[in-house]
Amino acid sequence: MENKTLSKIMAVAQNVLNECIRHKILNVLFIFAAAIIGGSFIIKELAPGAEKRALIDTGYASIELFGFLTLLISIFITTFEEFEMKNIWITLTKPVGRTTYTLGKFAGISLTLILNISLMFILLLGLALLNGMALDINYFLVIIGVTLSLLVTAAFSLLFSIVSTNLPTGITFSALFFFIGHLTVHLNSLADKDTTAPALKILLKAIYYILPNLSAFNLKDKVYMVDGAFNLFYIFSTLAYGLAYIVACLIITNIAFSKKEM
């Protein structure tokens, strides 16, 4: 029974991945490639003394931004197409439950995202090696952090794609959460200040705990702060936090989806 459910989830995931490829979502990669390869030549001229650092930082920032773009397009375009064109009935009339569909959809989006990030990272690594950069384990941990951050983003974006009634609202909320998600740790430090008003403190603390703390996964800004490798205990803790957040989002998505009238 469990094997059957898993194979159904994987079938939905495979379908989502095929849809993303059919919609030419992976074309984002070509824009990334053009931007990063072209950018690497410009950076050499513009940032003397910090060429290697600027190249890798721009690469990570581009991977995160293009990854975010990929997941937004893949979630919202495919979900709204399914709902608007009623394609979802074709899937749901087969023996595929809504829970299976939700999990499959998330797995498919995750596969698309991981495929995209891996290809972008390989290109960035190639450029870095061509430029004589000495890479260590931290540069790989940074990309794990970026991937985890985007998977969490995919989980709450999937929720918004189900609960929102139109495309712009869903995209706006996802982008807003992605932005505030990077800010929550700073908002928490504001809440800890003595000068902050009590009501504001409560609000800031609520935001800190409810919204995703994406800065916990942001290792790209911390790679120059550490001496040696990142603390592995920290990496595993953030991994556990990220997984718990994804699970929570998927359960809420499933509840919302099961109540949604189509």
Binding site: A47, G49, R53, A54, H182, M225, I251
Partner: protein, 236 residues
């Protein structure tokens, strides 16, 4: 609705809450997540402010560095002695205090080009405070200190110590190219200060320029070395 789902949701939410509380209490987390300087960075360009707070501090610092390089390269601004350089540098360092190269390059500019020696020392000390394990700063600090001492004493032993510390600082590959041009000039100055060792210092200068000419770290250094080697009749 399936009650199980709500139980799982509660468990996941508790795990998120506990995880975040636990993470926030870890010294390693506190060390990595220093509070963002909201007020101090208010004067940076809006794009830099937004990028900085939204998780792109390192790359924003890189772009601020590119902005500084354009600023330094402007001949009109050079004439008025870079009035905005200190402010631009502060913004960069607020964005990423661990970006070591600008400390070296900008302090070198203050020290040797703008002759604002106290400011140069201040920048290097700030770099040391923010990056205590980056040993190169010690070399620069020593060179700057002896340079100031030399101004007061005119003792050639102090001048030799400037040269020694710059030579040591240059062993690190990430040194600013400007430092190489300065070192050549310092050898010549030593040749002038110590007539008995004139030939020794001039030979060192020539060897140094030959290295700069054969393996230039930037185009300007090759041109500079070529000019000097021609002056000394080493090349035509």
């Amino acid at each position: 609705m399936d009650r199980k789902q709500y139980i799982y949701l509660t468990a996941a939410a508790l795990l998120v809450f506990a995880g975040l509380t636990f993470l926030g209490e870890q010294p390693y987390f506190k060390q990595l997540h220093t509070p963002y300087p909201f007020r101090e960075t208010a004067s940076v360009a809006p794009y830099a402010y937004v990028s900085g707070v939204s998780g792109f501090r390192a790359v924003t610092a890189d772009f601020l560095w590119m902005d500084i390089v354009q600023y330094i390269g402007d001949p009109e601004i050079m004439k008025i002695r870079y009035p905005e350089l200190g402010r631009k540098f502060s913004n960069l360092i607020l964005m990423d205090p661990n970006f070591t190269y600008p400390y070296l390059a900008i302090s070198g500019m203050f020290m040797f080009e703008l002759k604002e020696r106290e400011k140069a020392l201040e920048l290097i000390k700030e770099g040391m405070k923010n990056n205590p394990k980056y040993w190169i700063f010690n070399m620069y600090l020593a060179a700057y200190t002896y340079s100031m001492k030399w101004d007061a004493t005119k003792d050639t032993r102090d001048f030799r110590k400037i040269v020694l510390n710059i030579e040591n600082a240059m062993r690190d590959e990430s040194h600013p190219p400007m430092l190489e041009r300065i070192l050549g000039s310092l050898y010549l100055k030593l040749a002038e200060l110590e007539p008995a060792n004139k030939q020794v210092w001039e030979t060192r200068a020539i060897k140094h320029w030959l290295r700069m000419y054969e393996k230039p770290t930037e185009k300007l250094n090759k041109e500079y070395a070529e000019k000097k080697l021609k002056e000394f009749g080493i090349i035509n």
